[in-house]
């Protein structure tokens, strides 16, 4: 089978994929100019995560001086790709900053103030890669922080560390997106380095054949690579017809091999590995020259620029620097889209500080005449007339018009039935839609919601099992407790039933114990009622206690009850006469405050009591306010009044807070009843 594919390819015959479009290429804006070396920007903003996966652990801190190529993060997990300092300088900040993502959200970035010296760290150049073992090479690739540079940013070291029987290694140089010429220029200028990189991949993966796919609109690149790879039998340069999206992974595989990647699986499952041209170049740099991934070719293009061209941009370069270098025209009173990536699949950026990352291959600044639809303020969407042009161009053979209806209706099961997950977001459907429906946008929202729903379902499932487990545990604990009690009771009974003198002794002992417990309980309940009745009262008592410590508890309790009663009456009044109620309440408050002033004693207890009282008083006035206006459930006032640093005081504060909470609740209930009464009477 592999041979028949190769036979076809050598004859120049390829398969075709369904659909596809031919948008204006506009590659001539930049294709004829060499890649420009830029001066160093003043500051680089390097996001910690520039690939699919997770952020690494930071190795540097603010103020550190770093050398060019020095690692900034550490990879602790295969899905983590480290980042490196693109030039020498000082770390000035490590903070959230807007990253290259359509959402315009921020992520943790390292801010590097460039010192201009561009000093390298120590490099160990490898003269002969044949001496390196595969695992050493893979380690070098992983340490160099290489992630797929075509767009997705999948960690390369995982992709090259796979099972042995690979039929095809496909090097993707199709570059089907309009405007972008970064890979084209790289192939023209660095064909030997790219082929060296391919040789390293060959050593790692040992594929049966290596196919370099280039669209037929890049004759110079084709020639350069054919010359560079002429000596190697295994490598075939495949000139594929220009059609968007021929550079899509699945589409390119279909063009070259006629095979389809089964839905939901990776190309590796069909014995195919695909790498991007720029990735091959980076692999060569990393393995041979010990240069980590710190720069890439970026096409800065669009007719709003006076000097569009390809540049070598350090990772982390803010796009405003690139735009200045390419002489962006000022457009008066106009909102200018700045697109990262191509016109079909790129995203518009929200800030001029968005940095170049490992996956950014193009900055597109179109003029209004060349891309009017990018400037449209409102969607010009009209009703779908089911013309079917979208399904004619869909490379995945989906039915965009039906997907669109289901996406608008949020009919997710139907969307899954229509294989929304196989949509590659290429935008061909939206490009041709005569009703100008932003189809891809609808799909993206639907996809995000489906993903979120799946996560929620998973979470619900987890919550359910946890709930069930908890219920089971509680049940078990309860039965265990009952069991224990039963056992103890049985033991007691057994002991009592024994008619021996010891037993009678035990009986009387038990009776005595019971009596003691009862007495204790009674005492406790007395004191606790006192406490529960009202804390204010207690504080007052405590104050009096300080002066007159011999007072009996009983009188205290009585006093407390009396006070509580008085207060309740006051409060009721306050609640019933919401407007005029302030007076008495305030009066009470001041009274209480007075009382809470410790007369002479500096006793700790009194202090605490005072704090409690203060909090209480505040609360009370607040409750009165709350009756009049809006209920505020929480208060930090009580907390503020208590400034004692003592631990006890803290506890007291907590108690006060709890009480305060209770009070507010009561007040609220009271207000509620008042309201109800009002309603009843009204």
């Amino acid at each position: 089978m592999v041979e028949s594919v190769i036979e076809r390819i050598t004859r120049g015959h390829f398969w075709d994929f369904h659909g596809g479009i031919h948008p204006p290429e506009q590659k001539m804006l930049t294709a004829s100019k060499p890649i420009k070396q830029l001066a160093l920007p003043k500051q680089l903003i390097i996001p910690l995560q520039q690939h699919i996966g997770r952020e690494g652990d930071l190795l540097v801190k603010i103020g550190d001086k770093v050398l060019k190529g020095q690692a900034l993060t550490l990879s602790t997990n295969p899905m983590v790709v480290p980042i490196h300092a693109p030039t020498s300088g000082t770390i000035s900040a490590i903070q959230m900053s807007v990253i290259a993502h359509p959402s315009g959200l921020s992520q943790l970035c390292v801010f590097l103030d460039v010192d201009g010296a561009d000093t390298w760290r120590k490099k160990t150049v490898c003269a002969d890669i044949e001496q390196l073992s595969n695992s050493e090479i893979i380690e070098k690739i992983a340490d160099a922080g290489i992630a797929g540079m075509g767009g997705a940013g999948f960690p390369t070291h995982i992709k090259v560390n796979s099972k042995p029987d690979i039929n095809f290694l496909i090097i993707n140089g199709a570059e089907c997106e309009p405007y972008i010429t970064a890979d084209d220029l790289l192939m023209m200028e660095q064909s030997n380095a790219i082929v060296d990189g391919i040789k390293i991949l060959d050593k790692l993966l040992t594929p049966a054949f290596i196919l370099i796919a280039i669209e037929d609109n890049k004759p110079k690149a084709i020639k350069a690579l054919q010359q560079a790879s002429a000596a190697i039998e295994k490598i075939k340069v495949c000139v594929v017809p220009t059609k968007y999206p021929a550079g899509g992974e699945k589409q390119l595989i279909q063009i070259l091999t006629g095979q389809e990647v089964p839905s939901g699986r990776l190309p590796i499952h069909t014995g195919i590995v695909m790498q991007n041209i720029a990735t091959c170049f980076a692999i060569n740099d990393a393995v041979r020259h010990d240069i980590p991934l710190i720069r890439r070719v970026v096409t800065v293009t669009g007719q709003a620029l006076n000097k569009p061209q390809n540049v070598w941009a350090l990772l982390g370069t803010p796009i405003n620097f690139l735009l200045q270098q390419c002489a962006v025209q000022a457009i008066e009173n106009e909102q200018q889209p700045v697109i990262m990536g191509g016109p079909m699949m790129g995203f518009s950026v929200s800030s001029e500080l968005v940095p170049i990352v490992k996956t950014s291959n193009c900055i597109l600044v179109p003029s209004k005449t060349e891309m009017p639809s990018a400037f449209e303020k409102e969607s010009k969407e009209v009703e779908c007339i089911r013309c079917g042009q979208c399904s004619d161009v869909c490379p995945s053979q989906l039915l965009p018009q039906e997907l669109q209806w289901s996406a608008k209706a949020k009919d997710y099961p139907q969307l899954e039935k229509l294989n929304l997950s196989d949509c590659i977001d290429c935008g061909a459907c939206a490009y041709v839609c005569p009703s100008q429906i932003p189809l891809v946008h609808y799909y993206r929202i639907a996809k995000a919601e489906i993903r979120q729903q799946q996560q929620l379902d998973l979470k619900a499932e987890k919550a359910k099992t946890r709930f069930e487990a908890r219920k089971l545990r509680l049940e078990k604990e309860k039965t265990a407790r009952q069991e224990k009690q039963k056992k103890a009771a049985a033991a007691r009974k057994a002991a009592m039933n024994k008619a021996t003198p010891e037993a009678t002794d035990a009986k009387s002992a038990v009776a005595a114990a019971l009596a003691r417990v009862k007495a204790k309980k009674a005492a406790k309940s007395q004191s606790s009622t006192a406490e529960a009745q009202n804390n204010l009262a207690q504080s007052n008592e405590l104050a009096t206690e300080a002066t007159n410590p011999i007072d009996e508890q009983k009188t205290q309790v009585a006093a407390a009850i009396a006070r509580a009663k008085a207060k309740r009456i006051l409060k009721q009044e306050a609640a019933n006469k919401p407007i005029s109620s302030n007076e008495p309440v305030k009066q009470t408050v001041t009274e209480l405050l007075e009382v809470s002033q410790p007369p002479s004693n500096d006793d700790k207890k009194v202090k605490i009591a005072a704090a409690i009282a203060k909090a209480k008083a505040k609360k009370l006035s607040k409750a009165a306010d709350a009756v009049q206006s809006v209920y505020r459930p929480e208060s930090t006032e009580a907390e503020k009044t208590v400034t004692l640093t003592d631990k006890k005081a803290k506890i007291a504060a907590a108690v006060a807070k709890a009480k305060a909470k209770k009070k507010t609740k009561e007040a609220r209930n009271l207000a509620g009843t008042v309201k109800n009464n009002d309603q009843d009477s009204g």
């Binding site: 994929f17 369904h18 479009i21 948008p23 359509p102 699945k250 279909q254 389809e260 990647v261 089964p262 839905s263 699986r265 962006v328 000022a330 457009i331 106009e334 909102q335 200018q336 889209p337 697109i339 990536g341 016109p343 079909m344 995203f347 518009s348 950026v349 929200s350 800030s351 001029e352 597109l364 179109p366 009017p372 639809s373 990018a374 400037f375 009209v382 009703e383 779908c384 007339i385 089911r386 079917g388 399904s391 995945s396 053979q397 989906l398 039915l399 294989n419 196989d422 977001d425 935008g427 061909a428 939206a430 490009y431 839609c433 005569p434 009703s435 100008q436 932003p438 891809v440 993206r444």
Partner: protein
């Protein structure tokens, strides 16, 4: 300069639905011209009346539905519906026929179902069928080709006939429809059907002047005009080629089978192709994307089904021409056909959709 946020793709090929509609309207010109040449002003007047009615109806309903009026009124879809209905009507039918037909088509068939893109039936054909069923007399007021008409049917005469039922000279519609020989004329399809029912052979019926030298006097050129317009639309990729091609092939096969089984009582294949509204239906009505099938396979199936139905209605049904009925039946089955002809998605096996 401020940034502007949008979702990809940022580029668009700048096609618009109104442009598409306009293109279809232009493509009907050769057919309309032929119609005017052979049958005079009647249909043009009906087209005019229908278009005005359509715009008024569309405006009224859109404002009732609180929709953006300027945008949707001028998208050309209502005009196209009116145009197709006007082409189909008998040239001498009274003016209120096109008014009622258009109101029904626009208000009930199109807007009540949700407007452009939501109507399950082709509005023009539904309007035509409604008229055919409700006003059988007026809807058979077919006018013979001008060369066979005794009365001079200039613009004024046609206009007054449509508006009042009488020409300026006072001839009634019935009198106008009489040929030089004093025979009331019907369409070729109608004539053939009547004759065959009366026991005449096809050959004998073809002597009737209404058939002309080839298949049907005038009608053949009208159909040729629509064929030309249709090919232009296919060339411009405004319509899918699958539907008309499969429809014509299907009609050809059906009529060929019929003709070879009993040549005496069946019309020839080319007669079926070039008479009645065959070409108009094939290129302009069956291809209406809103009411048709969307998948390639589905379009072919709809075309085949329509061809079969047209043939069956023309030969076995009660009406002389069956395009309108066949198309409505196809509209009905289109969603079902779409359901079963979904293409296999990339990366999926044939069985699991």
């Amino acid at each position: 300069m401020a940034f502007w946020i949008a979702s990809s793709p940022h580029n668009h090929n700048q096609t618009k639905t109104p442009n598409l509609m306009r293109l279809v309207i232009y493509a009907t010109l050769p057919g309309i011209l032929a119609q005017w040449y052979f049958f005079g002003w009647g249909n043009l007047i009906h087209i005019g009346i229908a278009m005005i009615t359509a715009l008024v109806c569309e405006f009224t309903v859109l404002s009732l539905r609180k929709k953006p009026i300027a945008h949707e009124l001028l998208d050309g879809s209502a005009l196209l519906t009116a145009l197709l209905l006007g082409i189909c009507l008998p040239a001498l039918a009274p003016w209120w026929i096109s008014v009622i037909g258009t109101i029904f088509a626009i208000v009930i068939v199109k807007q009540l179902y949700g407007g452009l893109g939501h109507n399950p039936f082709n509005p023009a054909m539904a309007g035509y069928v409604m008229l055919l069923v409700s006003f059988p007399l007026q809807m058979t007021l077919w006018q013979p080709p001008l060369s066979l008409v005794a009365v001079d049917l200039n613009f004024t005469n046609t206009l007054t006939t449509i508006l009042t039922g009488f020409t300026v000279e006072g001839y009634s519609v019935e009198q106008v429809r009489n040929t030089l020989d004093g025979i009331t004329m019907a369409t070729p399809l109608d004539t053939l059907k009547t004759n065959i029912n009366q026991g005449l052979t096809v050959l004998e019926s073809l002597n009737n002047p209404v058939f002309g030298d080839n298949f049907a006097l005038g009608w053949e050129w009208i159909n040729a005009g629509f064929l030309l317009g249709g090919l232009f639309l296919i060339f411009k990729k405004a319509i899918a080629w699958q539907t008309p091609v499969s429809f014509l092939i299907s009609l050809f096969i059906c009529s060929f089978i019929g003709y070879s089984m009993s040549p005496d009582s069946s019309a020839s294949t080319m007669f079926h192709w070039f008479s009645g509204a065959t070409m108009l239906g094939a290129f302009f009505i069956l291809t209406d994307p809103v009411t048709g099938a969307t998948s390639t396979k589905g379009r072919i199936i709809v075309g085949l089904l329509a061809g079969l139905l047209v043939y069956l209605i023309r030969t076995a049904g009660g009406y002389p021409d069956g395009i309108a009925f066949a198309i409505l039946l196809c509209n009905m089955s289109a969603p079902l056909i779409d359901q079963y002809t979904r293409p296999r998605t990339y990366g999926h096996l044939k069985g699991d959709k």
